[in-house]
Amino acid sequence: MIDYSTKINPTLKNIKPSGIRKFFDIANELEDVISLSVGEPDFHTPWHIREEGIYSLEKGRTRYTPNKGFIKLREEISAYLKRKFSLEYSPQKEVLVTVGGSEAIDLCIRALINKGDEVLIPEPSFVCYVPITQMAGGVHVTIKTTAENKFKLMVEDLEKAVTDKTKLLVLPYPNNPTGGIMERDELKAVADFIVKHDLIVLSDEIYAELTYTGHRHVSIAELPGMKERTVIVNGFSKSHSMTGWRMGYAVGPAEIISPMTKLHQFAIMSAPTMSQYAAIEALRNGDEDIEKMRSEYDMRRRLIVDGLNKMGLTCFEPEGAFYVFPSIKSTGLSSAEFCEKLIYSKGVAVVPGDAFGESGEGFVRISYCYSINHITEALERMQAFIKELKEGK
């Protein structure tokens, strides 16, 4: 008998499994569950993009691409970032095509973080930054954000957390799960902090296309002195409804993109070829698709925020991504209790906020990647649930 527990990397073994998994298992066992829990678009990839993927297969274009991705795709990414966010990156040296944004995050952290290096990670946020930091031997330092501050990153908090070991700040805005965004003047303050302490920023901008309140996304790399200190991670999953294609990218200083490419070539070789063809089409002819989907998300966002406020769950108005993050503190329940009761009594699945870090306790994440009818029914069920809670049933 092999004792596998002695074989597995202890750092990996000690990484806590996420609490969401258990919760999804419940959801899968019950019948008539209506979910508001997923984190990916409900739209199909627009047909002209799918068709380009199909063509590439038909033509037998099924070989490896260059490690960094097709130069044509890198040129399109560069042109897109210029067109949308006034960012300038050299397709030859500063763009790396990856297997989803997730790979780019992993590469960036592993390329930068050495044993004992500290990484500042805002919370609540996407679940991967902490474990990747741990695997790299780094130390994660969480920076709590609050509903009172619209879940924005406050420089005072950063100043309290920074040490001489700090190397990297993860900047995940527009934010999953809160829907918070960072505006230009707020980023300016963060930029000054970064320069002052000689840090690097990993800016996860996967939701950059999905902002709603008239504040278009601003990348921190656009601010003076920041391009040389920023690695931007972005991709096609959320903007073009292309989650399953696994298409992401990183852009940044050649001096960081180059070692990231080194890691990428050993682990991955190159991102999927057909997906790269589809991605080229997405960037060439997909701007309208983005607008259509964004406008649809915006209407759903309004419906959900309105519905939640009406049932007495205070809800900070999310300005980006496709989640709302209402407080459930008025019910007196913990996030996990709220979600369990809700799913057992009404069959509505939402995600407990503490799955995204301790500071998410007292909140739940509700996704609006669902049709209006679906959302309407879920809201009705939730309203009945809240009413019953209040009546003490």
Binding site: D25, S35, D42, S102, V127
Partner: protein, 166 residues
Amino acid sequence: MEKKKEKLLNILSENAQLSNEQLSVMIDESLDFVKEAKKEFEKEGIIKGYKTLVNWEKFGKATASAIIELKVTPQRNTGFDEIAARIMEFPEVEFVYLMSGGFDLAVMVNAATMADVAMFVAKRLAPIGGILSTATHFVLTRYKDGGKVFANDEEEIDERGSNLCD
């Protein structure tokens, strides 16, 4: 305002079932704005009606439809309008389009059976003065209608699941 009105029309053209309350939240305007705009659209004939797209075949009710190409002699002063007006009065007629190209009017006719459609063409359409010829094309399968896919028996399953890496 005009933009919001266009948005309202866009939403309604996709889903006429939404309540005025929902619409007002979705476009971020007052309830009165939505009510007034709808009333105005109806009055001006911009909104022509609210109906449900039914897949009758799936319900088990057989129907027959045909697109009929008509060649007609345009009338002095009124052109094609007069003939079109006569044709569109029939309740069997779903649409009448004036076309460019090899024929003049395209008419969609719905009836209970193919024979009924044929009878309608022979007895009602063909004898109208000014109609030179008819060519009847029966619909065999409705793959997509009213912007919605009909010929798909597989229910779409939401495969999205519990990936943490969202």
